[in-house]
Symmetry: C2
């Protein structure tokens, strides 16, 4: 989506909106941490994000990679910065092509700072001298594919203080095809509003997005304000200086000052703010909290679909996914990135989708063996593994080998049932509760446009020991409401469903539309997920030394257990699956491999202990 | 669907089933009446029907035409009889090809009676001598496309009484590829069951379908039984003869005798009965009633979709239709018969379906001017036209120009609201009530497989006078729950919907499946329907003399009124549309064209009379 459309939306509806800016970090670990942070800050609800241009070799590469990451895997609409600094036309074209292929449709065209070793800016040979040349070049090459923003300088530019000259340059950039303006940071709102009037007087009518720098520490505040020659409003220094050694107090005061400044800008009719996050979450979050702009149960984050959409090239139309990757969305996007269309034949016809191989995309357990042992300890029995699942459900740990994100809030509704299953050695790796038509704005289950109703069939996916499986099959097989698939690592698939087509397990009814059915269960994708699910377990087992009890117990699970999914087609009955599984307990819950009749520090099942059996009680 | 599969179904599930046989009538009017009767008898729930072969020229043509009609327009799975009589190979091939193109997949291969002028059967030159040759020929030409039935003679054949020889012939026909046997009529069940044992002893294992002839009158019963040399069981003659001049009493006794006979057959493990209807409904219906096999609210007719599916070639996969043709299903099938696929791009993408022209398929008002004047009288004002609509809703008349079938039972739920609208001159030509999830077996709203839930958005389609329309538009346009389209005969379309895609107004949620959404509202098909709807009105006006008040009042409606449809997207609120239209009344309700201030024998609106206006009251 073009940024100008988002800005027009905010203007039309009167709902203020905001965006975040990030820059490429210097270390690989820093990049990984930033991706995690960007993913969490997605929940703040930015309309888009900017990735600044890392002038020079590797860092430029990194900008492009971050754009791919944000568009494709994080589902964040991204604006890529592009500068003239150090760039010949070939390198500009290459960067544009990479942005295009990432699904990116917004560029902020800048002249850029002079390289560090030079004092004055000069064009690279065969490159562009001014941002306006870059704007013209992008328009020439890509027509209207990219929305193009340019920089505005309400307090003058580093190497140019002549406001009128700078406005002339701005006008030239707009005339070349720029469609929005992002300003440098400032704190002086009066001056900014005065400058806006001068911009308008020049005949420039495109939207102006003010750049806001939240206050993180006293030192960084001063350093940046000085670096950008920002005027600091009267009274700010006094209030901040008095607490300058107390970062917490600085942020508290800073958030009030910055939020007041934001309110003043909004009151002047400018509905969108751009936050310079400096790759940090807290200071920006505090300002948003102060403005009461953070999503809340009463004002939930708007989601078009129940899963996070990829904005990668060709993926914007994607509207259906199997439920299996619910807790591993990035892996799903990776494994389907070579698909020609989304949805691939609506999952229903003969063009069965081929999933990417696990190896080819580096799907598997992330983190070093040591990190993983630290995360998940050294479970020596099924009971101890089950304890990890229970801690995950209780939010005591954030990840499991099968879940790359903390447990979803809707799982809370069935938490007690899930914990009960895990206590009995039925390990739950994915689930959703039944929803019989709630408003599409519902704080927990809602998604899609307003005035709709959303539905879910209850879903449960488990790892099941072979000693319990036959009894589960017996109970589920002929149940009029339940569909199941079960499969072992070696690939023996069984099911009680007779048709090959998909079973819609999440759907929504909206005004003036077809029924939207974004989440499905079906066999082909379950077989692809099966490979991944067992591989993740095998990877986990390998984090432990050969012959160790942890390696043996996890390895033996992967070799012999079943991966089972159950759908309750009767979405009016929320507890059927749990009722059907009641009374079943895995044998040898506390057995430690290598010990004849070992007990561990895991729990004993309250009633059955190690003698528990699959016989209904 | 192949008949052997239906028979296997009945055997497996233990649910008895039945089929009907019809023959080509001699007159055009007879054909039309039979089509209507077949359509009504669809509601009895036969698994399939047979059309007998009309040996000789025109009548053979008619058999083929009837197969097309039954498969394509009536949605009846049809078995076409084909005989060797008078048929060379070319004509046989031609008939098979026509059956194929009609979507027919079942043939009953017969030798046939000798032509009337000959006493003994002999093959046409270049034709087939025995039914077994015909079976072999069909298998050779069409492989397994056609299921092939053959005749069985439990009481011997007209020109052959040698039971063992006849069984040898039967075995030959089966060996050539026949997959089911239909017997000649009989009344002696003991003899039939004895014969079945002999068939089985011959090593013939394919299903045997007994042919049952219900008793309509004493005369026809005797005539047919004698003609076929049927043994009449002891006691039957006494009981029937005693009332032989009282047709009603004959049918009453006959239904008991025949139903008893059917029960005896079923008790012997034969689950499917074939009724020789003689093109009449009553006697067969009485037997079905007596057996308690007629669909009832507790045992509704199973419908795969909420509308009647066409079984024409390539149409079996059709699963979505616009709601507009709800009361003119045959017209819809005609106008889309050149489509390559069903659904045509799910109605959602750019491959917009082109509807057949009205002229090309003879779409328009059926019946002569005189017949139509008789049906609908000579309404001289809007009030009198509205009275017709009200009589239709009250089941006082069976058809309207826009409805080729009696009003649907679900319209009863909103009948009072519909009548109220018509009384105010808002003429309702199509509607469905809101349904917020009832079981798919619901006697009124249910469709699709069991254990599902079905839903509907409330829908209303009206003819709206230009004096009321602006106020309706004002009330509907910005309503958060309502979507509308409005169009005049000249084609000015307006709507408050922003997207081009279809709005699903009927959908179902079933175990293990995608959401099925068989009925939609969207703009392209509405424009095609608009042409048809206005044409039907113009045709109706032309039933009256030029210059007559009826012609003027209907003609002026067609020229100036709006065709409006309204969907209430909030299917939780059943009465919104009616509430929004409350208080609106068409002006000049009782005005007769050509009279200055005429009143007619139509009703006066109780509160407003001829001075009623569009101003809300």
């Amino acid at each position: 989506m073009h940024i100008r459309e988002m800005l027009a939306d905010a203007e039309r509806t009167g709902n203020p909106s905001f965006s975040f800016e990030y820059f490429p970090p210097k270390t690989a670990q820093g990049v990984q941490n930033l991706y995690d942070r960007m993913d969490r800050m997605y929940q703040f609800g930015p309309k888009f994000i900017d990735i600044t241009w890392g002038a020079g070799g590797n860092i430029a590469e990194l900008t492009c990679e971050m754009v791919v990451q944000a568009q494709t895997y994080l589902g964040l609409e991204t604006c890529m910065h592009l500068t003239c600094t150090d760039m010949g036309e070939d390198r500009v074209n290459d960067a544009l092509q990479r942005a295009y292929k990432a699904g990116c449709t917004n560029i902020l065209a800048l002249r850029g700072d002079p390289p560090r070793e030079k004092e004055k800016w000069e064009a690279t040979e065969g490159g562009f001298q001014y941002a306006r040349d870059l704007v013209a070049h992008i328009r020439k090459l890509y027509g209207n594919h990219f929305d193009i923003g340019v920089a505005g300088y309400p307090e003058g530019c580093d190497d140019n203080k002549d406001e009128d000259l700078l406005l002339d340059h701005l006008k030239e950039k707009v005339d070349m095809g720029a469609t929005f303006i992002v300003t440098q940071m400032f704190y002086d709102v009066d001056n900014f509003l005065r400058w806006v009037q001068k911009v308008r007087a020049k005949g420039i009518t495109i939207p102006i997005v003010p750049g806001i720098m939240p206050i993180a520490t006293y030192g960084s505040f001063l350093r940046r304000a000085n670096h950008m020659n920002c005027k600091i409003p009267d009274g700010w220094m006094e209030r901040l200086e008095s607490v300058k050694n107390d970062d917490v107090a600085v942020r508290e005061i800073g958030k009030t000052l910055v939020a007041d400044m934001c309110r003043k800008i909004l009151a002047a009719g400018i509905p969108h703010l751009h936050f310079y996050t400096m790759n940090l979450a807290q200071a920006t979050r505090m300002v948003l909290d102060e403005l009461d702009w953070m999503p809340s149960p009463n004002r939930p984050l708007k989601q078009t679909l129940p899963w996070k959409q990829s904005l990668g090239l060709g993926r914007r139309e994607e509207d259906v996914r199997p439920i299996f990757w619910r807790n591993r969305e990035k892996s799903y996007v990776k494994r389907t990135q070579d698909w020609d269309e989304f949805p691939n034949g609506r999952w229903g016809d003969s063009r069965s989708p081929a999933f990417g191989e696990l190896d080819a995309y580096g799907i598997g357990l992330t983190g070093t063996n040591e990190q993983n042992r630290k995360k998940w300890g050294e479970p020596k029995s099924i009971a101890e593994i089950a304890n990890l699942f229970i801690r995950y459900l209780n939010k005591g740990i954030e990840y499991l080998p099968w879940s790359e994100a903390p447990v979803a809030s809707e799982a809370d509704l069935i938490k007690d049932d899930l914990i009960d299953l895990n206590k009995r050695g039925l390990l739950t790796i994915n689930s959703q509760p039944a929803v019989n038509g709630v408003k599409s704005t519902h704080p927990i289950h809602g998604w899609g446009p307003p005035n709709g109703y959303v539905y879910q069939k209850a879903y449960l996916e488990l790892l099941v020991s072979p000693d319990v499986f036959p009894e589960i099959r017996r109970r589920v097989k002929d149940h009029p409401d339940l569909s199941y698939y079960a499969v072992t690592k070696s690939g023996n698939l069984e099911t009680n469903t007779s048709n090959e087509g998909p079973n819609a397990v999440t759907w929504g009814v909206f005004p003036g539309k077809e029924i939207v059915q974004p989440t499905i269960v079906e066999s082909i994708s379950f077989l692809a997920w099966k490979d991944e699910a067992f591989q993740l377990g095998v990877d986990w087992a390998r984090c432990y030394e050969a012959g160790s009890p942890s390696r043996l117990v996890i390895g033996e699970m992967m070799d012999n257990w079943y991966l089972v999914n159950i759908v309750n087609n009767n979405f009016h009955e929320p507890r059927t699956i749990f009722e059907v599984l009641s009374g079943l307990t895995v044998q040898d819950l506390n057995k430690v491999p290598g010990q004849a009749n070992g007990t561990t520090n895991g729990f004993h099942h309250p009633t059955n202990g190690a003698e528990a059996s699959a016989v209904p009680q």
